[in-house]
């Protein structure tokens, strides 16, 4: 029996959702607004919200001082590259765990998750030394590998949850029809799990895009992504908040736009596996 929800209640919940949404979005909004202020207005007390002299000079200075496109290109390559390779490994792994579990599958899943519990700085020196010896410092290949390994546990877990929802009988039927393992994965399982895979992909792109610790530690110039670009504008001795905000806005803009267009898919995918 469907429950009727009163209009008042609907209004209340909507207002609450908007309030929480705005609260979460406020720091980003503030950054965007500050990027259009002069340095003086950026630190003005009390702060000015909308009524200030809007200017684009910060963007001009940032563009002049740094090669934004090179950093952005690296960010795109790292995010897409690490996501692509992670999916190539994660789809078969999640398939195996969902449809052919062994005695230790659950333990294996827990162990994979536990690797995320270690503070990354604990692994910095060994990884740095490996990178040095293999000549991987400041290369896209090296950092793509690290980002892929970093996000692999989350991807496998997410895909595992989606795959568990798919009835094993469908795969059995395809096997009865003579499909090989590769075909079963590619033509039967993957299309059915598209929403799940899509949201995993989007989430991983966002995680890889925002990753700062490893990208800052292992890259210098050739492979440096937008996190490095932002780090060159923050300063403990000098108020350059407007320029820093302009740099931050430029760094988050692509992922913000992607998130905006993909939000339907993202929400659907994220709720698909768990609730269905």
């Amino acid at each position: 029996m469907a429950r009727t929800v009163s209009t008042r209640r609907k209004l209340l919940v909507t207002a609450l959702a908007w309030a929480i949404g705005l609260l979460i979005f406020f720091p980003i909004l503030w950054t965007i607004l500050t990027s259009f202020k002069t340095e003086g207005e950026a630190i003005a007390l009390p702060p000015k919200f909308l009524f200030f002299d809007w200017t684009l000079e910060n963007y001009g200075i940032v563009q002049e001082r740094s090669d934004y496109l090179r950093f952005a290109m690296n960010s795109i390559m790292l995010a897409l590259g690490s996501t692509f390779f992670a999916l190539v490994i994660a789809i078969p792994s999640a398939w195996a765990m969902a449809f052919a579990p062994g005695r230790r599958t659950k333990d294996l899943l827990m162990w994979m998750l536990s690797t995320k519990m270690m503070p990354p700085v604990g692994a910095l020196v060994p990884i740095y030394l490996i990178f040095r010896d293999f000549g991987l410092l400041d290369t896209r290949g090296g950092i793509i590998t690290v980002l892929m390994l970093l996000n692999l546990p989350i991807i496998i877990w997410m895909l595992y949850t989606y795959f568990k929802e798919i009835p094993g009988e469908i795969l059995e039927a395809s096997r009865m029809d003579g499909a090989s393992l590769g075909k079963e994965l590619l033509y039967v399982l993957t299309p059915m799990a598209i929403p799940g895979i899509a949201s995993t992909l989007l989430l991983n792109i966002i995680l890889a895009w925002n990753e700062a610790f490893w990208t800052l530690s292992l890259t210098t110039k050739d492979a440096a992504p937008l996190t490095q670009f932002i780090a060159s504008y923050s300063s403990p001795e000098g108020l350059f908040w407007a320029k820093l905000s302009a740099a931050s806005t430029m760094a988050i803009a692509p992922i913000l736009v992607l998130g905006w267009f993909a939000q339907k898919q993202l929400v659907r995918g994220l709720t698909f596996g768990a609730v269905k």
Binding site: G40, I144, L239
Partner: protein, 433 residues
């Protein structure tokens, strides 16, 4: 589907491998993003024209990120950088470890300010060349000082600062007598408090590396600081660092601010609402022979792991030379010349016309990193102790003192806790037998 997969895979592998190309004698320079360093990046044509076989690649980073990255790289001998911008804290430690190449081509080393050069020399060899030096001083509002009926001496005492701060405070009008650092960190509140404690006769360690927070000098320092901030400091001071205090001072909320000399150009700049009402004085003292000012320099050094030592030596020599100073002066005026490194700069009559030039020199000269305290100490460094363990210990102590400023603990509790922590860490590190 298969060819698509292979194509995409191939594209990524190609992109991943394509990034490893290396150019000839390309120097990679790691630097902080302060105004002087950014200016230098715009003037490097002068160097590359004279040295066409050398090209420069800059990696500009925020100070803390830079320190972390450069430390990892030099400790692991990663060889990612050929020239490093490092602070006065790192030079003696890294020099002793053999991580830096001694500089052989520095332009007229005898001309470097002795206080600055002393902190960059290890076993008689210059390990880094100073690019820009700074100290700390008092910046105050002349109008508020007049209103309070007081006159700031050129070299004030802490007692006067306390009296003036309380007289200038009008909390109802959101005017606070003094703004001081309270944010936790070895380079934040502990830089200020360590320098301040020197003028109170305190020291971090005695000759046997025993922490001294249980001594009356440290108690006098912390008591004075806490009561001054309670009476005349802004609210929420425990989260204020350089930038927060600069914002407060520039918007007219602070009567006095004791901080880096580099701030002088900001508080008198176009972003300041009080630019025409600012006066300067030396950092305060207590008549014990030491002032509460620090000494810092950003210097250029060459890591032992570089393969391009000759080119790096040439660049460091150019960037820290008298010629570079003249280049900046000719293009951007004497006020924009990197301050605080050379005696000849302060002897130049053109530079003497720049406001706060003399105050900066006097402040730098009144600090001695090799004899920073009233009582003898086994370490080098004015607002820091040049041992690798210091950053960690001082950050913890900084958190304890910041909590005391926030009212979460008393001065006595904070000092006892600092003493316990420092003793434990120094014992663990093998300094205390």
């Amino acid at each position: 589907m298969k060819p698509v997969f292979t194509g995409v895979f191939g594209a990524f592998m190609f992109a991943a491998l394509a990034s490893t190309a290396i150019a000839e004698t390309k120097l990679t320079i790691a630097t902080v993003n302060n105004g002087d360093m950014i200016r230098m990046q715009g003037l490097t044509d002068d160097f590359t024209k004279a040295n066409p076989d050398i090209s420069l690649e800059w990696v500009t980073l925020e100070e803390n990120v830079l320190r972390e990255k450069v430390t990892t790289d030099i400790a692991a001998k990663g060889g990612q950088f050929d020239v490093l911008t490092i602070g006065t804290y790192e030079v003696p430690i890294w020099g002793k470890k053999g991580w830096l190449v001694p500089l052989t081509e520095v332009d007229d080393p005898g001309d470097l300010l002795p206080a600055i050069a002393g902190g960059l020399t290890v076993d008689g060899k210059l390990m880094a060349a100073p690019f820009y030096g700074e100290s700390s001083m008092v910046m105050y509002r002349t109008d508020l000082m007049d209103k309070a009926g007081l006159k700031m001496p050129d070299a004030p005492t802490w007692e006067f600062i306390g009296q003036a701060a309380r007289a200038m405070t009008d909390k109802a009008a959101e005017t606070y007598g003094v703004c001081l650092r309270g944010k936790a960190g070895w380079g934040e509140n502990m830089a200020f408090l360590t320098a301040m404690s020197n003028s109170f006769g305190a020291r971090w360690f005695d000759e046997n590396w025993k922490p001294q927070f249980d001594q009356p000098e440290w108690k006098a320092t912390l008591d004075f600081y806490l009561s001054l901030m309670a009476d005349a400091g802004p609210p929420g001071a425990s989260s204020n660092g350089f930038n927060e205090n600069l914002a407060l001072f520039n918007s007219g909320k602070c009567g006095m601010w004791i901080d880096a000399t580099v701030a002088a150009s900001f508080v008198t700049g176009k972003e300041s609402t009080v630019a025409d009402k600012v006066g300067f004085a030396l950092a305060p003292d207590n008549g014990l022979g030491k002032r509460g000012n620090w000494l810092w320099a950003w210097s250029l050094a060459i890591p032992a792991g570089t393969q391009k030592n000759d080119a790096a030596q040439k660049f460091v020599s150019w960037a820290t030379s008298k010629h570079y100073t003249e280049l900046v002066a000719s293009k951007e005026g004497w006020a924009n010349v990197p301050p605080g490194t050379r005696t000849s700069l302060y002897a130049n009559p053109e530079y003497a016309k720049v406001p706060f030039a003399k105050m900066t020199l006097d402040s730098i000269n009144s600090a001695d990193p090799t004899k920073p305290t009233v009582k003898p100490v086994p370490y080098v460094g004015v607002q820091f102790v040049a041992i690798p363990e210091f950053a960690g210990i001082a950050t913890t102590v900084g958190q304890i003192f910041s909590a005391a400023l926030a009212g979460e603990k008393t001065a006595d509790e904070a000092l006892a806790e600092a003493q316990t922590t420092a003793t434990r860490e120094m014992t663990k590190a093998g300094y205390i037998k």
